[in-house]
């Protein structure tokens, strides 16, 4: 009995240590974002301090973060919508006709280093006068979102019995009609998983936007990165910017926790 209690205490201690390791950078970022510059550079680091909102005010007023926020949302949102349009039908036939080679082909986009497409995109988009355009940015982010959509939706469709659409087809419906009216309405959870994950990956993308966007279409990660290079010592502002960029992805994750876990782990378990 005593042994059991001891092992339970040990277990919870271990869990708390792990939680602290995971949380620590977030807590440090959050607390620094409310500190004045003086408090941030004070030594030893201050645990107790008088919180200020000035960092946030500075970031949103002087840096025009709202604009970058909207840009990130537009680019991520459009990339996800178009990836669903292209990806859902592809995932459906991959699942129903066991098109393995096709699946691997689309997944290559997930595996291969982005920079090996980025350099040619830069050359081509410059020639087409599409640098700093939403078109170029959305296309590049679709290459992030599409493989995620196809990967998640193909395994989701696999879990829907084929009888579902076959019974409709016996009654004379075409397969595409059955897909649209029977399969898709059953696919809500899969689509939520695919949408959340691909949006977050697009939201966090740095490399593509760093090269393809400039002042007009600049997304948040680039704005945060530039903020550091311009304001090397303004740690409070930088931390407020870091909080602002991470908050949406974290809130989405909290709302759709179950779906995000499923999306991140499903491939490996089936694999």
């Amino acid at each position: 009995m005593k042994n059991r209690l001891l092992s339970n205490i040990l277990f919870y201690l271990l869990v708390i240590v792990m939680a602290l390791v995971v949380l620590f950078p977030f807590l440090w970022m959050l607390s620094s974002s409310f500190k004045t510059q003086v408090d941030i550079i004070s030594w030893p680091p201050k645990i107790l301090f008088e919180p200020t909102l000035r960092n946030y005010a500075r970031v949103f007023e002087e840096q025009d973060f709202l604009k970058y926020f909207i840009n990130s949302t537009i680019v991520g949102g459009l990339a996800v919508v178009f990836s669903l349009l292209l990806g859902l039908p592809a995932a459906y036939t991959i699942s129903r006709y066991a098109q393995k080679k096709l699946a691997v082909f689309i997944l290559l986009a997930r595996l291969m280093p982005g920079i090996s497409f980025l350099m040619p995109w830069y050359v081509i988009f410059s020639r087409l006068n599409l640098m700093d355009s939403y078109v170029a940015l959305v296309l590049s982010h679709m290459l992030i979102a599409l493989p995620i959509v196809v990967w998640i939706m193909a395994s989701y469709f696999n879990s829907i019995p084929t009888e579902m659409e076959e019974s409709a087809m016996v009654d004379g419906a075409t397969r595409q009609y059955a897909f649209l009216k029977i399969i898709l309405p059953l696919s809500g959870p899969g689509i939520i998983t695919a949408t959340t994950l691909s949006f977050i990956f697009s939201w966090n993308n740095f490399m593509f936007s760093q090269v393809l966007s400039m002042e007009k279409t600049k997304t948040l990660p680039i704005a945060v990165y530039n903020f550091v290079s311009y304001a090397e010592v303004d740690w409070g502002g930088v931390m407020a910017a870091a909080v602002a960029i991470m908050a949406p992805a974290i809130i989405l994750t909290m709302i759709f926790q179950k779906y995000v876990v499923k999306g991140l782990t499903m491939g490996a378990i089936k694999g």
């Binding site: 869990v15 950078p25 920079i115 948040l220 490996a268």
Partner: protein, 292 residues
């Protein structure tokens, strides 16, 4: 359209066609374009016309110490980061693999690093590592240990970056292995317990072998991504100090978008592409042959 016979008869081609065309235009064509450029000496800033250079670009880049160092660093970073992530990730999964109060909260916490914007994570760690105001050195000093240079010194920069990668991606291994453990049947473990096996023996000879395929898959996923690590390195050091944290991805980026030596950049990109491709292929073959 929903009742078209033509569409139905050719559904297996027409449904995936838009996605296929998209991937061909945005991935396959650019990769071939890069391959083509790698045989030229094109420099975007020189204003000289593009000229065919055959294998001279390869001969020049592949023998350059800066390139070879980057290759070595890429593997160093990948091997140590993934090894640490796998070890810690599996250990954490084994600890958490039981019912306890707050389990779903623990799982939510594990998700947070995975969805945190890497560039911002890098910047937060830069504050943490800062030699004069950072918490890392404060902790070391409080413990009476010598203070570190972290990312500001060539000797410590790679391990410091690896720590960031380990912090961010270990939870991914934990979550995947946890899901794998949840899918196992209890019978073999119970049988071993009845036979009088100790907990350690059960872990080593029953649980871990059963979940091994899942561990390997998680490792493969991490390995492929670790080879391509860009955001945290670029944001934290930009490849520096000097070239001390310049991996292939960073080197390729600099040749492309800082020096605009597109011909030589292409050689680097082809090399990185081949490394990632061959590693993925090799591991998958290895995994296929090790499984029954």
């Amino acid at each position: 359209m929903f009742h078209s016979n033509f569409l139905e008869r050719h559904l297996r081609i027409l449904f995936p066609l838009p996605a296929l065309i998209f991937i061909a235009l945005l991935m396959i064509f650019p990769v071939l374009y890069t391959l083509g450029l790698s045989f030229t000496n094109w420099n975007l800033t020189s204003g000289m016309p593009l000229s065919f250079a055959g294998l001279r670009g390869y001969a020049r880049v592949l023998t350059e110490p800066r390139f070879l160092d980057a290759v070595w660093r890429t593997f160093y970073f990948t091997v140590f980061a993934v090894a640490a992530e796998t070890f810690l990730g599996v250990a954490a999964a084994l600890v958490l693999n039981r019912a306890f109060v707050g389990k779903s909260l623990a799982k939510l916490l594990l998700l947070l690093p995975l969805v945190a914007t890497p560039v911002a994570v890098g910047i937060v760690f830069n504050l943490f590592y800062d030699p004069t105001i950072g918490l890392a050195n404060f902790v070391l000093k409080s413990l009476g240990l010598p203070q570190g240079h972290w990312v500001s010194h060539a000797d410590s920069v790679l391990p410091s970056l690896i720590i960031v990668d380990v912090w961010q991606w270990t939870p991914m291994i934990t979550l995947i292995v946890l899901a794998g453990l949840a899918g196992l049947s209890d019978e073999p473990v119970e049988a071993a317990r009845v036979d009088g096996a100790s907990e350690w023996q059960i872990l080593r000879h029953v649980t871990i072998p059963m979940v091994m395929p899942v561990i390997l898959t998680a490792m493969i996923l991490r390995l492929i991504d670790a080879l391509k690590t860009f955001d945290i390195i670029f944001a934290m050091t930009g490849g520096g100090p000097g070239y001390a944290s310049e991996t292939l991805n960073i080197l390729g980026f600099k040749y492309s978008f800082e020096y605009f030596r597109m011909g030589q950049a292409s050689v680097i990109l082809v090399a990185l592409f081949l490394i990632v491709f061959l590693c993925s292929l090799g591991i998958m073959k290895l995994r296929a042959s090790s499984e029954i």
